[in-house]
Symmetry: C2
Amino acid sequence: MQLRVGIDIGGTTTVVGLVDDLGNVVLKNTFLTGSESTPNTLILAIKTWIQVKAKSLQATIVSVGIGAPNGNIHTGNIEHSPNLPWKGIVPLASLFEKALNVPVKLTNDANTAALGEWIFGAAKNCNDFLFVTLGTGLGSGIVSEGKMIYGHTGMAAELGHIIIKDNGRPCGCGRNGCAETYCSASGIVTTYSEITGIDKNDLTARLIFEKALNNEPEALKAFDLLTDDLALLLANAVAFSSPSKIFLFGGLAQAGDILMKPLKAKFEAKLQNIYKGTVSLEFSGLRENDAAILGAVALAI
Amino acid sequence: MQLRVGIDIGGTTTVVGLVDDLGNVVLKNTFLTGSESTPNTLILAIKTWIQVKAKSLQATIVSVGIGAPNGNIHTGNIEHSPNLPWKGIVPLASLFEKALNVPVKLTNDANTAALGEWIFGAAKNCNDFLFVTLGTGLGSGIVSEGKMIYGHTGMAAELGHIIIKDNGRPCGCGRNGCAETYCSASGIVTTYSEITGIDKNDLTARLIFEKALNNEPEALKAFDLLTDDLALLLANAVAFSSPSKIFLFGGLAQAGDILMKPLKAKFEAKLQNIYKGTVSLEFSGLRENDAAILGAVALAI
């Protein structure tokens, strides 16, 4: 039996899955990403788990695919991620290659999730789509003319770092006004905090969502502002690549109709005439961890 | 001898070129696009010219490529162009096919110019670049991962219709705040008119450029505002496709250093860290008409 490894590196937890040739996640485990300054301890823990499980399944590991914040497909490095404890340039693909002695490919975690949607989800056979992850930040993967867009640097598709308000909120990237400071779980927390004066540390996007479900005006206002900004961001993105579908994924996408109903209406209203009615905006149907794992696996096939 | 026809349809004039297999523009002619409600008269005039010239050169015409505002590569139609006298959907490719009895391909005029740069100009062998035309409007062509981005609708790459100011200037597309109402020849005319109170009809971008050359503060201010907006538009576009080069083309690009020097500095300053130093911003080296003709010809090869 041969298995492929898919790894999804997150700021807090890292999920590792063993996947068979049919695309089934045979085994899955979650690791704390940790707060050490290098990934060595995490790599060792993952390596040990993989080797134990591969042995007990009598399986051979043939490849590893990794999705990680600020992952660069060209270099296999994580580059200056504001959301990870490992600073600067971290050659994660080559570290895993040394540890496991199999080919390793790495890219941005939003790209691997987009790949998961493309190969196993609702984007199957779709040549032009955007995949947007609304988590702590805003990540994205872009497939255009049947190709994943990595760009010259290997770091394309950073819709979260499109500046939507000049001199706006400070962003982890060092600039101001980036989309992800407004259109994300942390963005709505900031917005709601600004409206109510409640300390951000006492808030979560989940809490604001529940208040909105209970028709609390301040929470509804926070969602209203978020959907204004997100609708314009997505309508502007359509002017770039004219996708047929846009998928929303990640924690905030669980807000369901409270997010999607106004977003769809505002998005359609903001679109240029030539694009009206040409883009379907929908939630990803993939389960969060599996999409990322399967996409990471697909990367290394 | 076999020749290919490249046609560049503009709001005022239409340029037609006959191109040999080596990419030389053998003959070129300019036609008034006219103000009739259909393109029939223009097509007849072009057809007659082509047939007379082909006969005298003892040449066979093998294909026609057309660049036109709002041209759709998938349908061969011009769709709802605000800058042409022909309204609604105009099946220009099929009309030329019937007239000339050869295969005809049509796309957006910025795309054909980008193709010209790609095949004959400074973008040769470049897999990831943006091509931006700064004329009356702002057009663009995007090449990413070695492919021209047409998108699901065939109408991708409308950077001029990215909304950069909510409730901003009215745009020909029916919305407000589109980039081309600020970052274009007509945009700088509007800006200068707002600053000085001079009627727009008494101004041209050329005139404002000459005033800026003479250090007139109002004209310098108009260029300052334009380069602010254009720098952010381009920096945001980099977050989408991470190109290695951006080419500026069209009338306003002739402003030279007055445009390029501040633009380069502001663009680099606005870029996210991961993209700094990775994008060269330069003027297209192609002569305006030839690029469009050669790109149109390349489209139909």
